[in-house]
Symmetry: C2
Subunit: 113 residues, 2 copies
């Protein structure tokens, strides 16, 4: 299993608006670079850079079809992350109501706010 450090790195790599769009698109199926260019409003080299970053981290991979590179998802965490981003969190967590929990503090002692 990947170390926590590695998994956080991965999360960082995925947490980018362009890359999320790429990944969302890939959940629907194989795509080549030109396909991405059409709906991402960025240059071809920039698309390639994002794709190559994602590949370097093992998030995606590709097959070569002539002069096309057909990209596809490889890391199963992607679907979970996308689901998480789509999830609707309505409530905040309840503020802790009582009791000293910190080592030094006597919270909720003279609680000010």
């Amino acid at each position: 299993m990947r170390s926590l450090g590695k998994r956080i790195e991965l999360l960082k790599v995925i947490a980018h608006s362009v890359r999320i769009k790429i990944l969302e698109e890939l959940t629907k199926g194989v795509k080549c670079v030109t396909d991405f260019e059409e709906f991402l409003d960025i240059s071809q080299p920039n698309v390639s850079q994002h794709l190559s970053l994602l590949r370097r981290y093992g998030v995606i991979d590709y097959y070569i079809d002539g002069r096309l590179r057909c990209y596809f998802l490889r890391d199963p965490i992607v679907t979970d992350i996308i689901r998480l981003l789509d999830k609707d969190y309505k409530e905040e967590l309840p503020a802790p109501a009582c009791c000293p929990v910190t080592k030094k503090g006597k919270y909720p002692g003279k609680r000010r706010r």
Copy 2:
């Protein structure tokens, strides 16, 4: 519901090794700044900066107890992200086996790798 952009920003804020450690610790209960200093190997101002960033994004909040600030979790996405980071993904996603899916490509045509 937050926009996708906002949710990606939030993911970016959370995807940092120090901040993940802070959040993991907070899932166990309320903590003040000095508590964090003990197990994060960084300076006090740096701890404060990470805490204030997390607070700015509504991930955490605090109560004041005398001269202590007792921090606690506020955004429920945190528990989900931590669960995700702990999850053990054994298998890669299966490589797509067939069929032209890209607009231009005839994948798996002359598939090279």
